[in-house]
């Protein structure tokens, strides 16, 4: 098939050009460990404190390279999210300088950020982002939790339909952040690239982003952090945050789904008995015939 050969060739070429190794199907990757997420299942809800911690990790670590173009400051104060107050959102937005304009004189100008502004991108454009990162473009984080997954083969993909396992993306992201090691398991890693056991192809352009103790979490009343300040915890927190960014109405969706299905089950029950009653008429009809 010409088309597929062409596409396969294009895939190879783009793999070299992009400087990012593409998924190689023949190379089996380990399955990301399954994490118990608070937002999984039919009654799932985000853990607000986890989202706040994850936001802190994003802001202090990831945000220097990864944009999150679709996230507005106001989103951080919306229901079903990290639950920042309007005042906090305003104050946070005000710490950013936003380029605006042109004004009446035709000039571009900088102003303080407002809650309605989107999160400013760390780079002026994709080319600049790639150039600053050894030719590899750091992907935007707006929907990355839904844009990443790992393969679930038969019969597991069928089981997922019933168990509502939908957290492949966050499990993968969390695993990826824990997937760095000095032992490359025989994989030849070019200079400027890194080994990651969960990344398709095992060679990733992003250096290990997180280290233990790197981000300081808010302390509890006893002066100690509420959760361990470890790579493992950072990974979970930032992945949960990215899930919320990708699906800000997740809580509302599951709540609505429960109401809709509960209503439909009751309606189906009523219709079932209505149907039975109506169809019972033909029995009577013939009995009297």
């Amino acid at each position: 098939m010409k088309t597929f050969k062409l596409i396969a060739a294009a895939a190879l070429v783009s793999g070299f050009l992009g400087g990012v190794a593409h998924a190689q199907h023949s190379h089996a990757l380990p399955t990301p460990p399954r994490i118990e997420w608070s937002f999984a299942g039919p009654f799932g809800k985000f853990d607000k404190t986890q989202l706040q911690r994850g936001f802190k990790v994003y802001q202090e670590v990831c945000a220097s390279c990864h944009s999150v173009n679709l996230l507005a400051f106001r989103n951080l104060g919306q229901a079903g999210g990290p639950g920042f107050s309007q005042g906090q959102v305003k104050a946070l937005a005000a710490t950013f300088k936003i380029k605006d304009g042109p004004n009446d004189a035709g000039d571009m100008f900088e102003r303080e950020g407002r809650p309605a502004d989107r999160w400013p991108s760390p780079f002026p454009n994709k080319q600049a982002a790639a150039a600053a990162n050894g030719g590899a473009l750091p992907p935007d984080f707006s929907v990355i939790a839904k844009a990443r997954t790992y393969a679930r083969d038969f019969p597991w993909f069928l089981v997922d339909m019933f168990t509502q396992y939908q957290e492949h993306g966050v499990d993968y992201l969390s695993a990826l952040l824990n997937g760095y090691s000095d032992d490359t398991h025989g994989v030849e890693v070019p200079a400027g690239k890194y080994y990651n056991m969960y990344f398709p192809g095992n060679i990733i352009a992003m250096p290990k982003p997180l280290n233990d103790g790197q981000v300081e979490y808010v302390k509890g009343a006893d002066g100690r952090p509420q959760v361990p300040e470890t790579v493992d915890q950072y990974s979970k927190d930032v992945s949960a945050f990215l899930m919320w960014v990708a699906e800000p109405h997740l809580e509302k969706r599951k709540e609505t789904g429960f109401k809709a299905i509960a209503f439909l089950i009751v309606l189906a029950g009523l219709l079932y008995f209505t149907k039975k009653k109506i169809w019972a008429r033909i029995e009577d009809h013939h009995a009297h015939a």
Partner: protein, 425 residues
Amino acid sequence: MSGHSTYVPKSAIGRWFESRLPIMGLIHSSFVVFPNPRNLNYYWTFGGILAFMLVSQILTGVVLAMHYVANVDLAFNSVEHIMRDVNYGWMLRYLHANGASMFFVAVYVHIARGLYYGSYKEPREVLWILGVIIFLLMMATAFMGYVLPWGQMSFWGATVITNLFSALPVVGETIVTYLWGGFSVGNPTLNRFFSLHYLLPFMIAGVVVLHVWALHVPGSNNPAGIDKKTDKDTLPFHPYFTVKDAFAVVCFLIFFCWFAFYIPNYLGHADNYIEANAAVTPAHIVPEWYFLPFYAILRAVPDKLLGVLAMFGSIAILVFLPWLDSSKVRSGSYRPAFQVFFWVFVANAIVLGWLGGKPPEGLYVHASRLCTLYYFAYFIVVLPLLGKFERTRPLPASIAEAVLGTSGSASAMAGSVAASPNTKG
């Protein structure tokens, strides 16, 4: 549409209107007093479910179109705008995207029911062919709809599928250029796909009207596969089948909501949350699940043109089915040998779907070839010959007898109605 034309408007205005446009009488004769075989089982509710899904898709789609922008630079983010900022936009979009899948779930059950009970046979050939046309229109609509979010799978799916037409001799390249509106998949492609994606559902609705019209000439087939003869064989559409269909639609909606609200991305592809990029090809280009059996047939054939012909042929062959099946017995219930071939056909189609999602290499290709062979053999070899050799079970004398048992006495009738699986469904 036929049926008893017994409608008499009760009001003076009703009579005035009816004598000028007898549309209430048409509705009355088609959906109120229309005599349906009394033995229809729940597989016959999928026609109603499909009508419901078509309306649902059009309603959610029209609202989505108010917010969507068909431009390569804006489409992806406009979908995300719907997901984030439009009131209940996430719900509309998930209902629409999953609704397409549900539409295909229902249509595959509907088609399988027709195949099993011989609903395509004389005198319902035109009804069946109209159904094949609806199926084709659905596929075109769904394919173009999947392109609109302009994700990676949208873009590359569009590239692969439109490229198929280039295999056609002489006219191929021209067709592809017209599909693209240029020399590659780009903004003109997206614009015309959006336009057609909006148009085709209304064409489907038009053919559905013809489909129902053609249905109401002979009336529905039924699990016994025999014609209705007396009034005892039938029940009026309303209230018996309206309430049965309503119950079935609500049950189907529960299934639909499970997907739309709890696992909305289960049937989609993660790569489609990455914006389209002509410079980066996804590792695997996979169409939506409902195209996978046909995609497997396409890839099973080592030659591009023949592969394309096999793929389109796998649907086109359905048009000839009424004349390929030589059996005079309609319902598979009375054809033991047929049942074996039929269920193998169903399993074969599911396996083809699974193979369509696998990379075209090694054993998968060989398995695809075997399954493709059986798919076509079922229509070209099995059905034409089976009718000549098989031993069928004796048919009941009437639909009433199929439901109520052979005695036909009033008391026996009353007893067996309650016991019959057909009326309880």
